[in-house]
Amino acid sequence: MKLRVGEFQVKDVVFGEETSFHDGILTVNEQEAIAALNPDGKLKDVKLHVARPGESVRILPINAIAAPRARADGRATFPGYTGKMASCGEGDLYALEGMAVISVGTHGGWMEGMLDMSGPAADLTEFAHTINLCFTAANVDPSEDDNSQKTNWDYRLGCCLLAEYVAKTVIHQEPDLWREYELTDTTGMGLPRVVMVLEMSTFYENSVGYDDVFYGVDVRCIVPTFVHPNELLDGALCSSSLVCAGVHSYTYNYQKSLVLKKLYEKHGKTLDFVGVILTNIGPNIDNKVRAAIRVATMAQMLKCDGAVYCQLGSGTSDVDFQKTIVALEERGIKCVGINPEFPGRDGTTSLKTALDPRLDAVVSTGSACEVIELPAMERVIGDLQSIPRDKWPGCWADDPIYGPSLRADGTLIVDTDHIVASTESTGWAHKTCQYF
């Protein structure tokens, strides 16, 4: 299975008559783009915006982020989701690099997040360093808007549709660079066999539309499964609407995981990259034990020597993290886990809900609950008043110690968990935690 990704470096995104790409400038026809992202008219007041690195821009409430990619052969970018079910992971994929597509709703909730394009929060997330094509919109049916938990279904799908729409314009152009992804034969090289284990959001057994989407299917009742890394690079997995913004791995992160790319880079050199096991965050202990057993058994059947485990979220997923790594280690498979820490706002709390000294190799993406002060921004994409009004976990209407998150002068005080993908674990976080 060989995937070629044709990379086009985007230098700017502007709006214009015709959606096109020339000399690094992506021009977007707004009406066409809006029609593409909102095919069933379930969103209203749809508007497009561009946010560039270094600008004084604040974006919220963000509910989905995707990387723009398209195929020349008519297959959907996200098979089974933005179009018909088809195989993915092979052939040519056209990719706009250096940019992301972001959807912005009207109400904050459990999984919504914020992004600053400059200032101290910009150091915490990859998405302050991409040119972001954003859309703001409201649900035609407002029934879930006030909920702390929302499916954000039309936003999430719209985000993927817009990512697909803009990338289509570069089909048949010659990219700056073709990157090839193939798990070449390493027989006889004696390299250690390494698997990547990726936690998916699989938490809402009882309700459709919240969890991760795999080939168009809500994975809420899935048992861990094994995929080719190219399938992830090629849009097989799209992100949920459940995990807090800071620890959230967005569709973009799944499409471009740096952990996955690192293992790929070293394939045939220092290791033999076997593939990716997608695993669960279960809603009960049986689900977690089952996932741990399934992952360990698959890794053993694949004759793995090592594994890198990317944790999604925290709290109950600490148990999945612990149980699965222990199960792998018990079968002689050496594990490194990647996880966010929750040391408390004052830095004195237990970091994980499930601790186990057998987890002896754990890399930290930083603290998801460090309190940060942020300056006011000149431009807001979305709604700043959502902060005092809505049910966000990473900010507050008022607090006896910190006061309100949003102050009259537009400055903010929030948890790092409020910043999109700041402590996600599929690759970008260049942070850790230390004792002071």
Partner: protein, 78 residues
């Protein structure tokens, strides 16, 4: 954890919880496995009559656990 603080005063606590590893690593002594995270006290797919019985039995079991002399952290099944 709140459970630890209450038990420190000498009041025995039974922690009815699905994520028993969290409770164990939090240093809780009497742990009773519940039905699930969003559904601690019964199986939501069972009939209302069965769920009523499950609620009763898990609470009866909780009382039994509170009456049980233990020497170390112990996980009980409902």
């Amino acid at each position: 954890m709140m459970v630890r603080e209450i038990e420190k005063t000498g009041i025995p606590v039974v922690h009815v919880v699905s994520m028993t590893p969290i409770s164990l690593s939090g240093g809780v002594n009497r742990i009773l496995t519940s039905y699930g995270i969003p559904n601690p006290m019964s199986d939501p797919y069972a009939t209302p009559q069965v769920q009523e019985r499950q609620r009763y039995e898990i609470m009866e079991k909780a009382l039994e656990v509170l009456c049980t002399d233990i020497q170390e952290q112990t996980v009980f099944d409902h």
